[in-house]
């Protein structure tokens, strides 16, 4: 009992400014997520590797070994291997998938029958910060997922992948912007979709934005289909894959840098705003 008296008196949270209190609560939430992720390392690695690995294996290893496989390359006329086209595209998909898997899917559970989210919401920091922590943590996973694509794209394809970074700061900026935007997208999806319908999201949202996200072809290659080329501009994945394409494989045709950064920032702000609004509406009655 004497021990309890010693512990009960100081109340560690009583000292420090409000900003410090928020920072510590935020760090606590981040630590908790890190801890859980570390324990679920294997599923995380499988989730991050499987899609790019299979994609590269089928389209850049198996196909070229088949007769007429070369005709599978949509950018043959642009003078590059399909592996080179796929590298930035698969990184964009990895970033976006991580955003959904790290935020939208767990949120569906936490908002659902378990209402686990109530525990996080009772932390001593503004509720919006709980949502922002989710975005940040998801962004971290997206960055890891993007980096993992690199060695895969280097070793799997049968024809060499030509990657050349002209500006590292630009690459870092694109990866970070894309990763945070993906987290915000996950938050928006996780808070707008009913928990029991989250499975539907893959068919209704994830698949279309991936396949129409200039992942498997550069945006300029859509020129023969003008309506589609204009239509896909509302898809944030387009700017992720084009951004990575312009940063990693600048020999391929791509959008101007300013447009990519501008549109990624625009989607980041829009999706963060929508996501936080949805989160608050879900959490505060």
């Amino acid at each position: 009992m004497s021990e309890s008296a010693v512990i009960a008196t100081p109340a560690p949270a009583a000292s420090g400014s409000i900003r410090m209190q928020y920072a510590r609560a935020f760090a606590g939430l981040f630590l908790r997520d890190l801890h859980v992720l570390r324990r679920e390392m294997f599923p995380f690695i499988v989730r991050v590797c499987m899609n790019p690995m299979l994609f590269l294996f089928v389209f850049t290893f198996i196909m070229p070994h088949m007769n007429g496989g070369a005709s599978m390359n949509p950018t043959a006329a642009m003078g590059s291997s399909f592996g080179t086209v796929l590298l930035p595209g698969l990184m964009a998909v990895a970033i976006m998938f991580s955003g959904i898997a790290a935020v939208a899917l767990p949120l569906a559970q936490e908002f659902g029958i378990t209402r686990e989210i109530d525990d996080r919401v009772m932390c001593p920091l503004p509720v919006a910060a709980v949502a922002i922590e989710k975005i940040c943590f998801s962004a971290m996973q997206s960055v890891i997922a993007a980096i993992v694509v690199f060695p895969l794209a280097y070793y799997i394809p049968s024809t060499p992948v030509v990657a050349h970074v002209e500006s590292w700061p630009y690459l870092v900026a694109v990866v970070l912007l894309a990763s945070i935007t993906a987290g915000a997208l996950g938050l928006t999806i996780g808070t707008t979709v009913e928990p029991k319908q989250i499975g539907l999201i893959f068919g209704v949202v994830v698949m279309p934005i991936t396949f129409l996200g200039c992942v498997y072809y550069p945006w300029r290659a859509l020129a023969p289909i003008p309506w589609l080329q204009m239509g896909v501009l509302i898809n944030p994945i387009v700017y992720m894959s084009e951004g990575l394409r312009s940063a990693l494989t600048p020999t391929l045709p791509h959008m101007p840098h300013a447009m990519i950064l501008g549109m990624l920032t625009f989607f980041l702000i829009l999706l963060t705003w929508l996501g936080i609004r949805g989160f608050l509406r879900r959490v505060i009655g």
């Binding site: 560690p12 949270a13 409000i18 630590l31 686990e116």
Partner: protein, 317 residues
Amino acid sequence: MIVEIEGLRKVYQGRQQVVAVDGIDLAIQPGALFGFLGPNGAGKTTTISICTTRALPTAGRVRIAGIDVVQSPAQARRSIGVVPQYNTLDRACTIYENIHFHCLYFGFSRADAKKRTEHLLAQFHLTERASAYPQQLSGGLAQRVQIARAIAHYPKVLFLDEPSAGLDPQSRIAMWEAVKRLREEGITVVLTTHYMEEADELCDRVAIIDHGKILIEDTPAALKNSIGAQRVYELDLRDLQGIPAFLEQLQRRPGIASAEATAKGVRIFAGGGAGGGEGLLSDVVSAANPYGLRDLTITEPSLETVFIRLTGRELRE
């Protein structure tokens, strides 16, 4: 006053407008064990949700330890511990981690968090289950973990929303013991319940709430006396046609506070003071015999009597 509620209203807009809380004023003393008693849908949970910053009021205000919960929710949460109706334990973390991370959220250093977690696990007899996951726990055990976690950051007020719902009698008694001990630590406890004996056993003060309004607020003892019902006699009669005449006869008799018809006979509320004592039973029995008395049930005064008198008998929801 540690909890101050003024003119609290909550209206849910929608296809059908629902007034969940309709003008509640309340002040709770530091160190009190306060109970909200009411039927389902009375507005208890909504009131607790607003007090714990998880819902916004339509009007009125709530202050916890002097901090307005709408204006500075993040600050108010430091003074609040919550055990909601449902199990909100973090399913991805063990029992130990649930409490440990809760401490970290509230700014404890890792060393302090470890010490606090170990102390709480011991206090709530959870040390053996420290590495279990919430899904592996029984309802009573999960409830104890939730209480331990809720008080980990030394809140001034602990809110328990229907803490004994779904617990077996042993777990309920263990939970009561835990709650009583919290009071000894100086934590103010506010709980909601629709179990009368729980309110009677635990609370210093009780507010009976229905349709979003507080009907009455007092100590359990005063409530039991105030309504005038000392004892309740339930009589089953063979002659149902004679009930109105019998009721009239009963109401004239001294020592009877009131009487009402039931499906099988009459219900008599004995009044306090003279005539309400032992002698009343034989009077009632002899008066009822001409109407074919079949059965007689005597209920000692309880909060349930008060509760039913105030909130009626019809089924809710």
